[in-house]
């Protein structure tokens, strides 16, 4: 068997899947309100009740994870906000890479590449926006002024368009893109092959190889 390295710990993977499932539920039940042609599915508040159940999971899951995995949380948040010159290089080289598999201009990446970090940042920011605007629309519905509630829908929709399209991209890259054949393994099983790590996350692999012995 080839060498493997641990990419994501078990709690992190569980959080990822719980959050992804709730996010997809929120996405689909939200879509029903966004696309009038799907409106008939929302009859008698059904999808709106499901949206609320999804929202509870969406909000509670990270709140349980964070105190239990404080170090990983800190590391993750730091990563979401550290950007540098190599990210610009990545963004420039990415279209060629993702369309033709030409990787000669791709700068070496850390544990998350620029695109993954961009998505991660959007998850953090949009998650906060969804939660704040969503809770206002939910619980202040009969008390807040009409204009406030209307603008909350507006902001909720901006986050929806941004995070929703990025979600499609995320699922596509994780599951379908011909080159990303081990990314799903990292988040499903936790481990990826040393070879894949060297190739896709060179900077991170060096660190890991130095600090820990590589599992085989």
């Amino acid at each position: 068997m080839s060498q493997e390295v641990e990419k994501y710990s078990k709690p992190t993977r569980i959080l990822h899947w719980v959050h992804l499932v709730s996010f997809c539920i929120l996405f689909l039940t939200g879509l029903v309100l966004f696309i009038p042609q799907l409106g008939f599915l929302a009859q008698d508040s059904v999808t709106r009740v499901i949206h609320r159940i999804g929202a509870v999971v969406f909000i509670i899951a990270p709140l349980i994870y964070i105190p239990m995995n404080w170090q990983a949380t800190k590391r993750g948040i730091k990563e979401a906000f550290s950007w540098g010159a190599s990210d610009i290089g990545w963004l420039k080289a990415a279209p060629r890479y993702y369309f033709s598999g030409d990787e000669k201009d791709m700068p070496p990446q850390g544990s998350m590449n620029t695109g993954q970090r961009l998505w991660w940042l959007i998850v953090l920011v949009s998650g906060a926006i969804f939660t704040i605007t969503g809770l206002i629309m939910w619980f202040a519905k009969t008390s807040a002024p009409a204009a406030v509630l209307q603008w909350m829908v507006f902001i909720h929709d901006v986050a929806f368009i941004l995070a929703g399209t990025m979600l499609l991209l995320h699922i596509y890259l994780g599951l379908f893109h011909p080159l990303m054949n081990e990314a799903w393994k990292a988040i499903y099983k936790g481990n990826i092959s040393a070879e894949y790590a060297k190739k896709h996350h060179a900077k991170w692999y060096e660190e890991v190889a130095k600090s820990k012995e590589v599992k085989s």
Partner: protein
Amino acid sequence: MAKAILYDTTKCTACRACQVACKGWNELPAEVTTNRGTYENPADLSPTTWLKMKFREIEPGGKVRWLFTRRSCMHCTDAGCVKVCPSKALYHHELGFVAYNKDLCTGCGYCIEACPFDVPRSDRNLLTGIAKMDKCTLCTTPGLDRIAEGWEPACVKTCPTNALQYDDRDKLVAEGRKRVDSLRDAGWANANLYGENELGGLHVMYVLDDHPSVYELPVNPQISAATVAWQDAIQPLGWAVGGLTVLGLGLNYMVARANINREKEKKDVAGS
């Protein structure tokens, strides 16, 4: 041919027969209320009160005036509620009214926030979010549809002073203007026909003997900025961004797979 209701405040005696007729025809139960020291009752519109008369006392120049106004859906041409309704439960009737298919209502409450006249009402469970909206349908509620029978709405039918009339909108505009002219001749300098042009033309118009603000009607009512930004900017943007993303991903899949397969073949050939 658009139809409309014309309500003449100067002929209204606030007997509230219309209010009762509305309840009767639409099978809406009475509400238990308490005496608030006014004939105005109930205090507000509700899911079971789609029409109520509003009473107002003012003292211009020390002379008491008792003013009556109808509070109900104005059946706007540019209706904010129809614009925001995500399930198409609210829609424009062929005669111009804002009709309502209650089965389709999901209870989001967007219409309540979008209505410039604060008309739609719902009972809402704040925890589950379950709700159903209600408002005047101008007697087009399925099963209780007077209009389809060629009848007048229940409120108009019952009005003893003909303060309410139902007819072709054009005719009623002409009628309303005539009435306003005669009021002006009688010394009511601010008399006006409310609803002739507001929001693209309302299908419930009022003959007023004074400025709309005196009757606490919104002067120059508008669709809110948020409604416009949301429906005319964010909605199309969502469609464009979503569509392009799906297209882009599909394209990427086809191109990338073809390219990568070609590379592999090259390697295989070189290796063998």
